[in-house]
Amino acid sequence: MSQAVRVEGVFKSFGELEVLRGIDLAMDDHEVACLIGASGSGKSTLLRCLNLLEPIDAGRIWIEGREITAPGVDQNAVRRGIGIVFQSFNLFPHMTVLRNITLAPTKVLGLSRQEATNRAHELLARFDLDDKAADYPDRLSGGQQQRVAIIRALAMQPDIMLLDEVTSALDPVLVAEVLDAIRELAHTGMTMVIATHEMGFARDVASRVAFLHEGRILEEGSPERIFSAPEQEETRRFLDRVIAAGRM
């Protein structure tokens, strides 16, 4: 059995503020896990800990069977295998779309410019953006920028993708194109951990949903169970609020 992600007893504080208070999580390959919960519940922090953008205070994390929190681990090597997409896109504004995508494959994986460019064009075509290759990010809509960010992460051929509220900064009309891109990724069997406020999407795409509350995973299970028959009072309250806000 190959385990894509294993998280054991992870704690993380920012100064006095305890953000993660003992997170345990295990995921198999090709699973799509959606993290739901209120803002500040620790979803983003957990994702950032998974690719070592934030050092953890206690606990252990394994990715694809290798412990990434062991002392002496090459952080750059770990990150190579994990793609992350941020809420605010974070494309490099001084580079064309193509260069945004080919930078890491050429500088980190050592691909030739030609190979990297070919790979980039394939991905751009797959996500319907091939005509934007020569544009700078500020010429693109938010939805297009976010899809480029997804492609940029995919170009590194990661084992796992982490998506951090990738539609939260988008106009409602642009959300669908990004969600469609992620759905298509899920169909190809990409292992993903997705922090999201889009409950309909989570129900649709997730093989498992985890509800975070005050730095703990309060409840997890299949989307059907979490959304139709939550066991915890907090989960029910959260879902009621989401429904009241018209987000489901």
């Binding site: 690719n51 953008l53 750059n76 090597a77 990150r79 190579r80 994990i82 793609g83 992350i84 941020f86 605010s88 974070n90 494309l91 490099f92 504004p93 001084h94 930078l103 890491a104 500088k107 980190v108 700078y136 500020d138 010429r139 940029r152 992460a153 590194m156």
Partner: protein, 291 residues
């Protein structure tokens, strides 16, 4: 290089300056322009009258605005000015590179780099705290006196080293401001792709930082061009424009050659000033457009 999205980047270099100076007038229409012209004429006439009617004006005119003196000295001063340009052309690239290194050292995070960060900080604070003239003077006269074998003994060389050391401290701070203005999310995105700390600086942070600080760098550029005259205090045998004009001034007891030297600097610095203003104006408009 940079995207020229809306044509604001096109246009002659004087565009930005002209619009900032004259734009308010245009809004006020023909009447405003007329008032501006009249008031300018009145002020100019008043100044000319005040100066030329002063009791000693004929003497001042004779010793500062003497055409014969100017004609006789200017070709030599202009010739000497080539040395200022040469010094500037040598010093500027070295300053740009050395200052960038200092700025990078100062912005390195992590305890391992503490000694480097500390040294760079001391360097910058020290050289910004001392008048550049003193650095030029001390090095220009001090080092050749030491007579260390293998090192050049020309005072002009060491004066230039002093100028480079002093200016690098200022330019390093300009770079550092640029580096700090690049949002941390850019670094996070680069590191998340597996780029090392150094690669992140090289490909993501520094290119963006440098682009943002080009206009303020141009200001230091300008100041350096003028301050090449500081080397004059140690470079007696290699006259540059100011020294040359002093030679004429002392020979003929007339200050007109000094004005000639000033004119040489203006020929270079005024176009640079206009260009800098244009760059700043363009950047301001781009920022407004992106908000």
């Amino acid at each position: 290089m940079t995207p020229t999205d809306d044509g604001t980047s096109a246009g002659p270099p004087a565009e930005g300056r002209r619009s900032r100076l004259l734009a308010p007038l245009r809004q006020e229409g023909a009447k405003g322009v007329l008032i501006a012209m009249v008031s300018t004429l009145v002020v100019a006439a008043a100044i000319v009258y005040l100066v030329t009617s002063s009791p000693y004006w004929p003497d001042v005119k004779e010793s500062f605005f003497n055409w014969t003196q100017f004609r006789d000295s200017f070709p030599d001063i202009l010739e000497a000015f080539r040395r200022n340009i040469l010094w500037f052309m040598i010093a500027e690239p070295i300053i740009l590179a050395w200052a960038l290194l200092l700025a990078i050292l100062r912005s390195l995070r992590g305890p391992v780099f503490f000694p480097l960060r500390l040294l760079a900080t001391i360097y910058v604070d020290l050289f910004r705290g001392v008048p550049t003239l003193l650095v030029v003077y001390l090095l220009g006269f001090g080092v050749p006196t030491l007579g260390i074998p293998g090192l050049p003994t020309q005072s002009a060389f060491w004066g230039m080293v002093g100028l480079i050391l002093g200016y690098s401290a200022y330019v390093a701070e300009v770079y550092r401001a640029g580096i700090e203005s690049v949002h941390p999310s850019q670094t996070a995105a680069a590191r998340a792709l597996g780029l090392s700390r150094w690669r992140t600086l090289q490909h993501v942070v520094i290119p963006q930082a440098v682009r943002r600080v080009i206009p303020p760098l141009m200001n230091d550029f300008l100041a350096l061009q003028k301050d090449t005259a500081l080397i004059a205090v140690v470079a007696g045998t290699l006259p540059e424009a100011f020294t040359m004009s002093q030679i004429f001034q002392q020979g003929n007891f007339n200050f007109t050659p000094i004005l000639g030297a000033a004119l040489c600097f203006l020929i270079i610095t005024i176009p640079l000033t206009i260009f800098t203003d244009w760059l700043l104006e363009r950047q301001r408009r781009q920022r407004m457009a992106s908000v």
